[in-house]
Amino acid sequence: MKFKYKPAGDSAILMDCGNGMNEETNKRLVHLADLIETKEKEGFGEVIIGYQSVLVQYDPLRLTYNQAVDKLTSLEKEADTGSCQERRLVEIPVLYGGEHGPDLERVAQHNGLSIEEVITIHSQSRYLVYFLGFTPGYPFMGGMPKEIATPRLESPRFSIPPGSVAIAKEQTGIYPVPSPGGWNLIGNTPLRLYSPEENNPFLLNAGDRVIFKAIQIEEYNFIKAQVEKGMYQMETRNEQIGMR
């Protein structure tokens, strides 16, 4: 993978590979970001992964732009020869429809499907968390089947409740904190994507795989009670992914 280096103000560099949004690119970007964070602590700051880029902060009091680019270029080569990585598979329980998913019917109607078919399609796919952004812990996910793609609402809602699972165009998302938005709400997860009081406040991470599991109201309430007491243990497993 070949990167273009572009200045992002006077203390950050955008490494842009121009490959567009795809899983192979994401795998490499996650690996590269990890290398920068672990191997180049001197003079470098935060790293933010995008669909086809990594934004890297550097300290201009310690590195010139060219020195920073040189160091990143050598890491880029190292990232290319990366070996096997593990990827986490996270199961997210969702109560579809009802008061928590007021737009489920709209999604069904728009695509000429039944409500049950929408739930089946949404919960039987595997999604990739490309990166987090927008609000704390919000996952930018890919992999939603086109059969349930639905345009945004005409008028956005003022506040979407946390845990809402939503669809806009060909994307699906989960809202960690109350936010305005025009996405179609199809359900709600009892899990918290953002718990600032925890040692690890974020449920998901860039590079995670996500599957949704349809649950009923009793199970939803049961899990929610455990989550509120900090006693819920999320279902995850690790999968090996090769680097070509």
Binding site: K6, P7, A8, G9, D10, S11, A12, L14, D16, G20, M21, A33, G45, E46, V47, I48, I49, G50, Y51, Q52, S53, V54, L55, Q57, P60, L61, T64, Y65, F131, L132, G133, F134, T135, P136, G137, Y138, F140, P176, V177, Y194, P196, P201, F202, N205, A206
Partner: protein, 317 residues
């Protein structure tokens, strides 16, 4: 300790920001104007990063519940002690029962009040800064409210504790209504026509009513794209000048989100970012292009000033 009598328009507790969490979608937060923040702390003998109050435009009134040393820097918001105008950019002693007011905006947009010792709210994810989106830091992750009490860290006393300080005039910024900032082009300058870039650099833009800690939104001549304003979403940075479809620039400040999907024509250089934090609705902004090396030289010069002032004010004896 201080008690908030009237919270004002938008008053928050801020340090120099929360680092390491942007990749999880958190804002960096921290004071919008790092220069005024750091000077306020130096004047009362604090570490530069100590938590201070960021006061926006007007309306804050609070009462000292104990004797303290404070300093107010940044925008001139008619800072008063017991109803009389008090000097800014100077360390001052306030007594238990004194009333502090910020009544109206005379220049700039945000004032910073440091308290010797620093505001002692707990650190959350490594910082005391208030993040109103993540709802953490400061007091319950929200702007201050009537009745809030500001805890203050006990200051380590040094030999010359009682000696007051002021900042020499040459280090005090003037907050004019026309603000000139320098930028480094990129990362998407090629998404704009040459005419668009030239027009952007030779026009002036008006600060819209819609300002907050996330961004300074500007109105003025449309900046034309070559092909379109959308890019695949990528990380954004403080000072980034984003130009969405309507061609009207938005400059990101410390409260911004971490990811954006629109072209950026350039980034405001670090030493000029405080000027944008002091821009208020109706102010005019002009932009000038500099090289990265020039930006770095200016930053080094500024940091030298900070080291000298810190050394003078911190008695290491």
């Amino acid at each position: 300790m201080f008690e908030i009598i009237k919270p004002g328009l938008f008053t928050t507790i801020q340090d120099l920001g929360r680092s390491g969490y942007q990749k999880f979608g958190m804002a960096v937060s921290g004071s919008a104007d790092h220069y005024a923040h750091r000077m306020a702390n130096i004047l009362v003998g604090n570490r530069q990063s100590a938590a201070v109050l960021e006061v926006t435009l007007l309306g804050l009134r609070m009462k000292a519940l104990a004797d303290h040393v404070i300093a107010v820097t940044g925008g001139d918001l008619a800072f008063k002690i017991n109803g009389a105008l008090a000097p800014m950019w100077t360390s001052l002693k306030v007594k238990k029962g004194d009333m502090i007011d910020f009544t109206h905006c005379q220049s700039g947009c945000r004032a910073y009040m440091s308290i010797a010792g620093g505001v002692a709210v707990p650190k959350v994810l490594g910082s005391r800064s208030t993040d109103t989106i993540g709802k953490i830091g400061g007091i319950e992750g929200r702007p201050l409210q009537k009745g809030d009490v500001l805890p203050v860290e006990k200051q380590l006393l040094h030999r010359f504790q009682g000696i007051r300080r002021r900042l020499p005039a040459s280090f005090i910024p003037k907050y004019e209504n026309t603000i000139h900032v320098r930028i480094v082009p990129g990362p998407q300058e090629s998404a704009f026509t040459k005419e668009a870039m030239d027009g952007f650099l030779s026009s002036s833009y008006t600060v819209s009513k819609d300002i907050d800690r996330m961004a300074c939104r500007l109105e003025g001549p449309t900046i034309e794209h070559v092909e379109g304003a959308d890019i695949t979403s990528e990380g954004i940075f403080t000072g980034a000048i984003q130009v969405p479809r309507n061609g009207q620039p938005i400059v990101f400040l410390v409260g911004r989100q971490s990811i954006g999907g629109y072209t950026k024509i350039g980034g405001v250089i670090t030493v000029d970012q405080p000027k944008l934090a002091q821009a208020k609705p109706g102010d005019r902004i002009t932009f000038e292009k500099v090289t990265i090396d020039e930006a770095h030289a200016l930053l080094k010069e500024q940091e030298k000033t900070f080291s000298v002032l810190t050394a003078v004010c911190m008695d290491k004896g």
